[in-house]
Structure formats: C-alpha cells, structure tokens
C-alpha cells in the first residue's frame, strides 16, 4: 500500500488516471463526495450555513435534509449570503460558511470574499464547479473561480476528486480561522460531488507551507517595554486584529498599566468600552479630534493588530511624525508594509499583550510607572474643546441624522449588536454610538462595501439566535443608497426569521459622495440624487421604503420629526417577531465632521468648516506640557518636529 507523497496528495486535474488512488484509502464509510461535504461540515461543528442552490452544486444541496446538523439560511443573492456569513463570523467569532453554485453564483461571491479578505474575516466559501471533463470548455455556468479569487483570498482550492473533500474542508476551515483569519474558497467540481469515496474523520491536514506564528519572541517584548519606560506621550492604536484575537481585556490591561490613551480604527470600535476614560474613540479621516490629535503628537505609537490603512494615516509621511513605533501583528507582511516599526512583534495580539503586560509589570516593579499627567492634560483639553458635536436643528426642518443615531443609541439595549452599511451613516454610527461590548459593531472597513449592512445584520441575528438565544438585538443603521444595493434580503430576513431592526437615514442622496462633491468638486452634484422615499405632488420618488418593508411582510415606519422618531424607535425595540424598518427623513446636506481630506496630513484635520486646530498648533495646554516634570529635551524635540511638519504642510 503506497500512501501519496504529502505534497502531491492532491494535484488539480490528474494528468493520467492513477489506478492506486482508489484502492489505497479503503478505511471509512463509503459515500459520495456531496455526502462527505455535508458530513465534513457537521464534523467541523458548523452550525449555520448561508447560500443559494444552483445546477452545479445540486448534488450537495440534495444531501441537506431535515436532520442535517446545521441550519441553512436561504438568502436571495449570493453577495447577501457572503455578507451574512461575514456578519455571523464577526458576531460569533466562528467561521462563516457559504454554499453557492458555479459561474454567476461564484462571481457574485467575489465582493464578500474581497470584503472578508480586507477585514480578516474567517470565511469558507464552497462553490460548485462543472465536471472535470467540461473544465476549460466554456461549459454552461463555468467560471475559473479559483483564478478569479486568487488575488482576494487567503487560499483557494479546486477539488476534483471526491476523496479529497473532507481533508480539503478541514484544511480550509483551519486556514480560515487560524493565523490572520481570512476567506478560503473551495471550488468543488461536479465530478468530485458525485464521485464515490471513503469517509473518515478526523482528517490529517497536509499544509507544509503554512506555519502561522502566534508566540512572540522574548527580546522584542523587552525592547517594547523599554520604549514604554522612555515615552511620555504613548498612544495605543488598536485595530481589527485585536478584535479578531479577542484581546479586549489585554488591551485594557495594557492601557491601565501604562496609563496610555486608546484610539481605535473603525473595526475595533468597542474593543474597550467607550465609557472607559482612556478611550478617545476612532482616529483618522472621520475620527474624533482628540484621537487624531493624540496620534499626531504622540512619541510612542503602539499599533495593535492595525495595518496603517490610508483612511487612518492620511498622508503617510506626516503620520505621527515624532513617534517611535511598536507594531504588533500576526501577519509578518504587515510589519513594515506602510511604516517601518522600531520594535516589530509578530504574534497573536492576545498572546503578545499577555506577555508584554507581564514584562511591563516586571519593569514597573523595579522602576515604577511613568507619570503621564501632562500628556493627559493635553488630551483632556482636546476632548473638552473639541467634543463630537453636531447641529440638532436642520435648515429644512428634517431630522438631523446624527441626532437619530444618538437617539438609537440612547434607547438601545446595552447588548445590542450594531451593523452598518457604508457611507455617512457608517461614520456617524461609529462616532456617536456608545459601544460597550466588543464584537458588537459590524461594518465593512477595508473594502467599504455598500450593501453590506442588511445581509450582515441578518447573519449577526442568526449568530445572536445561535449563541445568545436571540437575547442580543441587532440594529442596522443604513443609508438609503447602501440599503438599496441588497434590499432584496428583506425576504430572507422575514422568511428565515431574522428579526433585524433597520434604521435608514434617508437623505435621498448618496451622502458621502455628495459631501465630497460639496467640498472638492464645486458642488456639482453629478448623479448623487437617488430620489427615494415619499412621493409628493411634484415629484415621484422610488422606492417608498415603508411600502417596500410591508411588501416583504416587515413592519415599516416613517419618522419625520423627533417625536415620531422617538416613538418609532420605541416601537421597533418592542417588535421581535419580524424585521422592522424605520425610514428616517434626514437632512441631505448634513456632513461628517471632523474630516481629513484624502491624501492630506492628519495635521490638517478639520473639526468643523474653518477650524483646523492642529494646523495652527492650537495645543491649548502646551504651557502645562512644558512646565511638567518630564525631561525638557524630549518635549522640545517633539515640538520642533511638530512645527516642522505643520510648516511643510502649509507650503503645499
């Protein structure tokens, strides 16, 4: 009996028929590849699967029965299935699984796959493929799924032999969830689905080229601890990697140990509760002034599972110019990709921080903690002077979208899972909701996928029902533009019993694009008016969201005044047997502030039109800063560096 050499255990299409492969693996239960696929998912502990059937995946769907151990959620569009699996994965921390058909089914999945890849969401996408005799012949609904998905996946498989199915699924599930999580595509040819094989479990994985590092090296931890000792203005810049690693407690411990402020990226909102005084909120393009300012002025930037995205850094050369950098990431390729760190630490965030916290405690036991009072005075002055603020009154008497978001947050249960689409509403949600729990904020960060919201909310609601007995309500905050990209999933939400609550901030325009048109394109509002909402005598608007909700058997409510809005939210919070949609009529020219224009230095951050506190070096508390008991040299050095950057900026 000859076992296959490990690396060749499955090659793609077999070049010559091998006579031995069938006979070598006689252990196990005889079944078809399709049966094995379902059985493998069950054995992997998969409890919920999203998807849509189709011709090339029918043998697999034929094996889904009433006694199958996972719940199948039938979506209405493959993109919806993918985003739902993403929302499920983020809410529960488990791998999201989708089963779709070949060709158009698989190509519809490319957007969620790319989205999951950017945000490191663990996803296993199983797609059908035509039989191997038809591969490469332009057969009906054939697409080179593996080829298409290469650039946007963690890994892709083409399975042509039934015997490979359980092992490939075990590998795919492991790859998706381990190391830096990501999407894995398993393209299963019809030949493999109908072929016979011998099923056994567990499977031995063959992954010689895959060895993710999770444990940090000792000496970099000591160097990192030393940098903390030498720094007087540290900032913890926390990203989605900390969320994926479930490192909220560790981040909080590090912040408390070192008295450092916490700024977060969009995906990391809520990693430490917003009520914690150390949390300054989101930084970057639409971050809080305090968070962006603190990062620009810091002398130690600790990037924790964050990747220096351009929406965070603005112009890279001018980002945190005086700071030394500690970069903690599980993916070595992220280290030095955008900024060279002084101390690189490769490893799982939670494990690294556990070790780093221990190291810092050891140092502090000997030398004591650094006094950061001047730094906090400066930060608090920013916080007091530039809070997150907006106009509650709007010129045309419609609702203020920011007020709606705050009101939603005020009335929501603390356990609420918040989901958003992409656009202005997403930024307001991130800025104004009080996040008290990690894994309670689901949004498309890296790819910025409009239409992400509704299906992701459905996925999160399925996850909530699975893990929390449905106790965690799911609120979706969406824009009228974003919502219409996947509004067909209202059907899935109703029929598959995912009673999400939907708040549409309806301004009848593509708000974020309109904001850019206002600021950078001479108010030429080219193709951003989408005319949806209520019909009046003069204009016909489509769709009427209330009627749309009712068409899908959901509850639809419209709110045009604050009293209506309060009542609508209250009513929505009471309904739990079906989805509720509230169409909030909001002011179309409301803008997201603060803002850093794309490609500009974060020093140019505009708090509100005409107010650029960092550009004019408006560090109100600089007197107390230099008069403090920290070494004079350090402060002077930083001040010079900051001044130089501001001068450089103003020349541009």
């Amino acid at each position: 009996m000859v076992s296959p050499t490990p690396l060749q255990a499955f090659s793609g299409v077999q070049k010559a028929p091998t006579k031995t492969s069938k006979q070598t693996l006689v252990d196990g239960e005889k079944m078809t590849g399709a049966q094995a696929l379902i059985r493998a998912l069950e054995d992997l502990g998969v409890q919920d699967v999203f998807g849509i059937p189709g011709g090339a995946i029918l043998p697999v769907y034929h094996q889904i029965h009433d006694d199958t151990k996972f719940r199948f959620v039938l979506m209405r569009h493959e993109q919806g299935a993918g985003h739902a699996a993403e929302g499920y994965a983020v809410a529960t921390g488990r791998v999201g699984v989708c089963i779709v058909t070949s060709g158009p089914g698989a190509t519809n999945m490319v957007t969620p796959i790319a989205d999951a890849n950017m945000d490191s969401v663990p996803l296993v996408v199983i797609s059908g493929q035509v039989g191997i005799d038809s591969i490469g012949t332009d057969a009906f609904q054939e697409a080179d799924t593996v080829g298409i998905t290469y650039p946007v996946v963690k890994h892709s498989y083409l399975v042509t032999d039934a015997q490979d199915i359980p092992r490939v699924l075990a590998e795919a599930h492991y790859i998706a969830r381990s190391g830096r999580p990501g999407p894995v595509v398993v393209d299963v040819s019809k030949t493999a689905q109908v072929g016979e094989m011998y099923y056994s479990w567990p499977q031995k994985m063959i992954l010689p080229g895959y060895n993710p590092t999770t444990k940090p090296h000792g000496h970099v931890l000591r160097e990192a601890a030393k940098l903390f000792e030498q720094s007087y203005r540290p900032v913890l810049y926390v990203g989605g990697g900390a969320m994926r690693s479930n490192a909220g407690a560790q981040v909080k411990e590090l912040a408390d140990l070192t008295d450092s402020p916490i700024v977060t990226t969009l995906p990391a909102r809520g990693i430490v509760p917003d009520s914690d005084p150390k949390v300054l909120g989101m930084l970057g393009m639409h971050g809080t002034l305090a968070a962006t300012a603190a990062t620009q002025k810091c002398d130690l930037l600790v990037a924790i599972g964050a990747r220096f995205d351009d929406r965070v850094t603005g112009k890279m050369d001018a980002f945190a110019p005086a700071a030394r950098v500690i970069h903690i990431d599980i993916d070595p390729a992220e280290i030095g990709k955008r900024r060279q760190p002084d101390v690189p630490i490769v490893g799982d965030v939670a494990e690294v921080l556990d070790a780093l916290n221990a190291e810092i405690k050891r140092g502090q036991a000997i030398r004591g903690a650094t006094n950061l009072k001047p730094w906090w005075n400066l930060i608090n002055s920013w916080r007091e002077k530039y809070p997150m603020k907006y106009d509650e009154e709007t010129p045309d008497g419609t609702l203020s979208p920011q007020w709606v978001v705050e009101e939603l947050s005020r009335q929501a249960a603390p356990s609420t899972i918040w989901v958003s689409g992409v656009g202005q509403h997403q930024m307001w949600a991130s800025q104004l909701i009080d996040f008290e729990n990690p894994h309670s904020w689901i949004s498309s960060g890296g790819l910025g996928t409009m239409g992400f919201g509704l299906p992701a909310a459905i996925g999160a609601r399925v996850g909530s029902a699975r893990d929390f007995g449905g106790k965690k309500p799911v609120w979706l905050i969406d824009g009228d533009g974003s919502f219409q990209m996947t509004s067909e999933e209202l059907a899935a939400a109703f029929i598959d019993n995912a009673p999400v609550k939907i708040a549409i901030l309806n301004n009848s325009v593509y708000g974020m694009v309109r904001q850019w048109q206002t600021l950078f394109y001479d108010k030429h509002y080219s193709q951003t008016s989408i005319q949806d909402g209520e019909n009046t005598e003069d204009i016909v608007n489509v769709p009427d969201f209330v009627k749309l909700a009712e068409a899908y058997s959901c509850v639809g409510i419209r709110a045009t005044t604050q009293d209506e809005a309060k009542a609508a939210i209250k009513r929505a919070n009471e309904i739990n047997d079906r989805p509720v949609l509230i169409d909030f009529r909001v002011y179309k020219d409301a803008m997201v502030w603060p803002m850093v224009a794309a490609g500009q230095s974060n020093d140019t951050v505009t708090y509100k039109p005409g107010v650029q506190p960092l550009l004019h070096n408006d560090t109100t508390d600089s007197g107390s800063d230099s008069g403090a008991d920290e070494p004079q040299n350090d402060t002077d050095h930083a001040a010079v560096a900051d001044g130089a950057t501001a001068a450089e900026q103003s020349k541009e």
């Binding site: 690396l7 060749q8 299409v13 992954l207 010689p208 080229g209 890279m316 390729a333 900024r339």
Partner: protein, 184 residues
C-alpha cells in the same frame, strides 16, 4: 514606505530562489503577486528539483530593497510556497543557457567560430547562411558574447532565464519542514 512601481531602471539586480509545491496553478499565484506591484521580472525559470514534490522558481529582477522585502513576505503567505531565499551573488552560482542564431556566411564564418572558441561555447547548427550557438554562463559572459556577435547580425535569440544554487554542501530544501532528502 510603499514604493511603486517596485522596479525602476536603476534598481539593483536580485535573484530570488523560491521553493514551491509542485502542483498546478502555483506559478500563476506567484506571478500574480509580482504583476500587481509592477515588479518587472528580468527572468523567471521553473522546474522540478531533486524532490519530485517540490519545484524551484528562480526569479531575477531589478527591484528596490523595500518592495522586495514586502513581496518576499507576501510570497511567504502563499500556502504553496515553502521557502524563499534572496540569493547573495557572491555566495551562489548563477547560470543561464542561450541559443543564438547568427548570420554567418563563408566570408565571416571563421571569424564567428573564433569568437565561439574564445568563449568556449558550442556551435549546435550550421547552415550556409547561419550558425546557431549554444552558450552557458553567468550573465556577464553571455552579455559579452552577445556584444561581440551583435556586429554579425543576430537573427534569433532565446535565453533560458537564470538558474542559481548556493555554494557549499547544503540544499535549500533541507530547511523545508518535513524534508525527506535522501541519496544526495
């Protein structure tokens, strides 16, 4: 940090040796990574190695140090990639095979043959109007030969792309986890 495109006319030449699993589609994944970053490949050769389960890709490219480090890290993330080394020119042997079809008739044939003899390369095909020369060597030697033959008129030319191994008794694949090299 990010430098785009990765290759500029004045970038230094690097030779990457990449050990990969020998299976379909691997080269496309690797090539895709290079292409996306505007990484101008000078030569690329792929073939099986002393182990049938492992193939070796040799890439030479003129590229800046920073994007090179990034692409090595990105290559390392591919599951099919087992080992990557940026070969040091002083500690590696690098060779390339070239076939050159030179326009040579009875009047200048002996001159061409003199060059062939000087460079210790071989003639593999003779025709009244042409000579086809097989040459092997490091890049400098091949370039010098081509420079001399240029005046006679090069009709056709094909280069195999560089292949390279480190000096000394060790194999790159020894460091591959689960390595099973025998009878070396």
């Amino acid at each position: 940090m990010a430098i785009y495109p990765a290759s500029t006319p004045h970038s230094e030449r690097h030779t990457l040796s990449v050990l990969v699993e020998n299976r379909p589609g691997v080269l496309a994944r690797i090539a895709g990574l290079f292409a996306r970053r505007a990484f101008n490949i000078n030569s690329l050769s792929v073939s099986p190695t002393e182990r049938p389960d492992i193939s070796r890709v040799t890439v030479t490219a003129d590229v800046e140090q920073v994007p090179l480090e990034q692409i090595i890290k990105q290559l390392n993330k591919l599951l099919h990639v087992l080992k990557i080394v940026d070969l040091d020119n002083t500690d590696a042997v690098e060779r390339e095979l070239v076939l050159i079809k030179v326009a040579a008739n009875e009047t200048n044939r002996s001159d061409v043959l003199e060059i062939v003899r000087l460079f210790r390369v071989r003639v593999v095909d003779v025709h009244p109007e042409s000579l086809t020369i097989e040459a092997t060597g490091a890049e400098g030697k091949i370039d010098a030969l081509l420079g001399l033959l240029h005046d006679y008129g090069i009709i056709e030319l094909v280069r195999s792309g560089a292949v390279a191994v480190t000096r000394g008794p060790h194999a790159l694949s020894e460091k591959v986890v689960g390595s099973e090299i025998r009878g070396r």
